[in-house]
Symmetry: C2
Amino acid sequence: MAVFSSLTPVFVAVLCVIIGFLFKNSRRREPRSKQKRSDQTARPWVDEDLQDDTEISSKHNDATEEENLQHIPYTPARYSAAEMLERSEKFYSLMNLRRSVRFISPEPVPKEVIDNVIRTAGTAPSGAHTEPWTFVVVSDADLKHKIREIVEEEEEINYKQRMGHKWVHDLKKLRTNWVKDYLDVAPCLILVFKQTYGFLSGGKKKTHYYNEISVSISCGILLAALQNVGLVTVTTTPLNCGPQLRSLLQRPANEKLLMLLPVGYPSSDAKVPDLKRKDLNDIMVTV
Amino acid sequence: MAVFSSLTPVFVAVLCVIIGFLFKNSRRREPRSKQKRSDQTARPWVDEDLQDDTEISSKHNDATEEENLQHIPYTPARYSAAEMLERSEKFYSLMNLRRSVRFISPEPVPKEVIDNVIRTAGTAPSGAHTEPWTFVVVSDADLKHKIREIVEEEEEINYKQRMGHKWVHDLKKLRTNWVKDYLDVAPCLILVFKQTYGFLSGGKKKTHYYNEISVSISCGILLAALQNVGLVTVTTTPLNCGPQLRSLLQRPANEKLLMLLPVGYPSSDAKVPDLKRKDLNDIMVTV
């Protein structure tokens, strides 16, 4: 017993250090989501799918601007049922001709048209009207080539290593691969950045709710606007190129690349896969 | 020293157990993303932002369908520069009149128009042409009311507990709260579901690449189509209601609610906040 009692202090000290260490780690290990959920009511069916990566938390020096907006009457154009039907058919026919086109002519496109197309994209709704988008329009040949180099280098790795056989196989029918001539050839590239947060006039961070969904909606309107003027594009989301392209284009840290759209007229030899779209009954359910 | 040597076995045994425990935990703590990354080339600047929650992995019984698609010439309409400019201005003017409207008239809307609007949404591009969207159109009064009850119950909790003062404050200027009359009043509700995966003809799971981005793009085109026929909506993403609404509407497990759009004519007393949109120079960068 004398043996024991003489060593106990050392032993206890070592145990204390180890237990302290364990405790510290177990706290650090607590999942973030749990912390997030703490101010919510925990329910088994809670759906977190409607949350994108919007950064909302007090870890930011977040603040809001006082705005006391006037509310004004809204009286838009009203069409007769016949006009509505006709307009809906016409717009559907126009949009139904849109295809993702990888064969783009080098002919320049009118700058004013691109301006209007981007103005149109900017009419999209956004979470709490934050308008979290930046459209970078690149027409400089050197810069386009640098973009191509970055994208092709990454895409080759994507196709050969990251994406896996199945994904590559799924894309085979679309005849896509990592060689992207159109990045050199297209007269302009539109790089769409989502702003994961913004800034208030005082420089403090401003939350951009649902920024990815908002910017994607805006891209939908951009595609409609391009189709409406007879220009083509292909919606690409080049994996892993975001940081390098953001750095090349000197975009700030709050902006992340969402999509890269090469834009122009279709080339005379443009081909597209003979895809069919789903029937209305396969995409719509009426209750 | 004798004291030491006699206790060493016990001490070492205790230390071994503790170190073993620590080691086991540190391995368990290893972030999942690292595991994901293992088949990629690890690089410090790797951008994971371009990945949404697309389920791609061998944990699914995934397989692909053999398709050998023909490629056909694509020769769309070509407009003169003057026509392009005019069309781009006209479309911008039309879209610029779009507003998120919470005052919706109960008047019914022509079913064929809604059909065409959804057909139009279905022309959106999607990752590997998977068309991962389901549009549920609800016009039944009872069902609309049940949807309202689910949404209001959750939204009240959202506003009072989950969203936090700042978010609620940011929405104040838009005069939104958890009371959603329009869910009863609007002649139709469009619930937009993203299919997080699909099924092949043999019943095996099919990967839906970038499904959330694809469905959001489709929603952008849907908004354009609604605006084009003079109907209004407000893009809502009701937090935490997804599973209950999916269950109510008997949608399958692979579908998750992305957006809920009440659709109709604006009511005669419709008001909107007097918001301004950013100037072109604030959303576009030309290089």
